[in-house]
């Protein structure tokens, strides 16, 4: 389980990194956190000829909120590690809550202290939490290549398992998320067999409401197809529905959240069979998890609304 030989460069600037990636005709990999790449190199499923280590590119180790009129955007540089999001306060508003809920499901502390959010987007594992969130929230990726910078919206970025719109000579330098407004609630639930495996299914959801009626819903599905899925049919079915979350533990079958869950499972998802989870079971798990995550998001929305009313009083 030893990596095969490769050449190694550690550029100091994005420009140097892009130059290293450019047109060398060799199988090249970008090394950021390395928590998937080096694993794959141990398994020898990836045998790069050149590794471009971007960990010394200081300009990538940066995260900030940018204001653009009424809209605020969170910009996450390519060296921001998973653990930067462990605190809800790391990112303003409901987005911080969503990230903190999601990151708790990403491996465990020693992996989170190395692995990066942008690295997860670059790797594009179907069970990646960040990929589904980026897709659901309409994130934009910033790339630099020999032809200069360009942006790709997340909805056009994921092409399949480990396949993306990134060209081999391009470096993803950052990802930008629109911040979520205070009238939005968030939820994230992951279902897996033990703490140490990939998600069988996970769901990220946001619900925005006015006067108790859902005005916008965003649902990202993790490991429900060969790539991250945005459950648009389920989202549409929720618009205009009552936000009130079901009172008990179970989401009743006739509740809008349960209906949305079934729509997500039947229409939006395209699950493939895995050991211990055939397609029938995975559709069941998707339906249940979407319903429950929507309930979490609705509860979150209500508590935010209550807190905000309290502030105004």
């Amino acid at each position: 389980m030893k990596p095969a030989s490769f050449d190694y460069v550690a550029p100091r600037t994005v420009r140097e990194a892009v130059d290293a990636l450019a047109g060398n005709g060799r199988k090249t990999q970008v090394l950021a956190g390395g928590q998937s790449l080096i694993l794959e190199m141990h398994l020898q499923r990836i045998r790069p000829e050149l590794v471009v280590d971007i960990n010394r590119v200081a300009e990538l180790d940066h995260m900030d909120v940018q204001m653009d009129g009424d809209d605020s955007t969170l910009r996450v540089g390519a060296l921001i590690r998973h653990d930067a999001f462990e605190s809800e306060q790391a990112v303003p508003g409901p987005l911080g809550t969503l990230f903190a809920c999601a990151v708790a499901n990403i491996a465990h502390p020693p992996i989170r202290s190395r692995g990066t959010m942008v690295g997860s987007l670059a790797w594009a594992h179907p069970a990646s939490e960040w990929c589904a969130i980026a897709l659901a929230l309409d994130a934009d990726l910033e790339l630099h290549g020999t032809g200069g910078p360009r942006e790709i919206p997340a909805r056009g970025y994921f092409h399949g398992p480990f396949q993306t719109a990134r060209r081999p000579d391009e470096l993803i330098t950052a990802v930008r998320f629109p911040l979520l407004t205070g009238d939005t609630g968030v939820g994230f639930i992951e279902h897996r067999r033990t703490h140490f495996c990939f998600a069988q299914v996970a769901v990220a959801a946001t619900l925005t409401a006015r006067d108790g009626v859902i005005t916008e819903a965003r649902i990202g599905l993790v490991n429900c197809a060969d790539r991250p899925v945005r459950a648009r049919a389920a989202e549409r079915a929720l618009i205009g529905a009552d936000l009130a979350p079901p009172a008990g533990r179970r989401v009743p079958g006739d509740h809008p959240f349960a209906r949305a869950g079934r729509i997500a499972a039947e229409q939006d998802a395209a699950p493939v069979a895995e050991p211990y989870a055939d397609v029938e079971y995975r559709r069941q798990a998707i339906a249940v998890l979407v319903g429950r995550t929507l309930r979490e998001a609705a509860k979150d929305q209500r508590s935010r609304a209550a807190a905000s009313e309290g502030d105004h009083r």
Binding site: S5, D7, Y8, H42, L43, D53, P109, P110, R114
Partner: protein, 160 residues
């Protein structure tokens, strides 16, 4: 490739292939074999060491990435006079090891967290996340949890 690692305070000028992972370089080049390789794919955590103070899987880092950096291994836990680290004492007291193969990894995960914030002993969830970071096949984990809580309680400078 020529690199310099500072391991447990000692400088090691080394010439390593880029592909060599930190764990192998610690074990073979620095002859510090307390860091064990249990899975070589980042899951079990037996190889966990501190790089610049943070717990990492040394099988998922290349040694060349650590050039100029500081590494701490289980050999560097005890005090300069050989006085055992609070975690070492606590692991023994709680019988938190049997075969001992995974032990250095658990010690280093806990050491990294406790040395940044000894207060984690007051937060069972954070301790659970630490114990839940690695695999042990002998103890069933509960003694390891107790050992980390005990070390936090007995941390130097903590009110008793």
């Amino acid at each position: 490739m020529k690199i310099t690692l500072t391991v447990n305070g000692e400088q090691y000028p080394l010439d390593v292939e880029p592909r060599r992972v930190l764990a192998d370089v610690l074990r073979e080049d620095c002859r510090l074999t307390g860091t064990h390789l249990g899975c070589e794919h980042g899951v079990c955590g037996a190889c966990t060491v501190l790089v610049d103070g943070r717990a990492v899987r040394s099988c998922l880092m290349l040694a060349v990435q650590c050039d100029g950096g500081s590494v701490r291994t289980v050999e560097g836990l005890a005090g300069p006079d050989g006085e055992p680290h609070p975690l070492q004492r606590a692991f023994s007291a709680e019988h938190a090891l049997q075969c001992g193969f995974c032990t250095p990894g658990f010690l280093m995960v806990a050491a990294g967290a406790l040395e940044r914030d000894p207060g984690i002993g007051d937060d069972p969830e954070r301790v659970a996340a630490l114990v839940g970071s690695n695999i042990c096949r002998c103890t069933g984990y509960e003694p390891i949890r107790r050992a980390i809580m005990r070390a936090a309680r007995e941390w130097p400078g903590r009110p008793t």
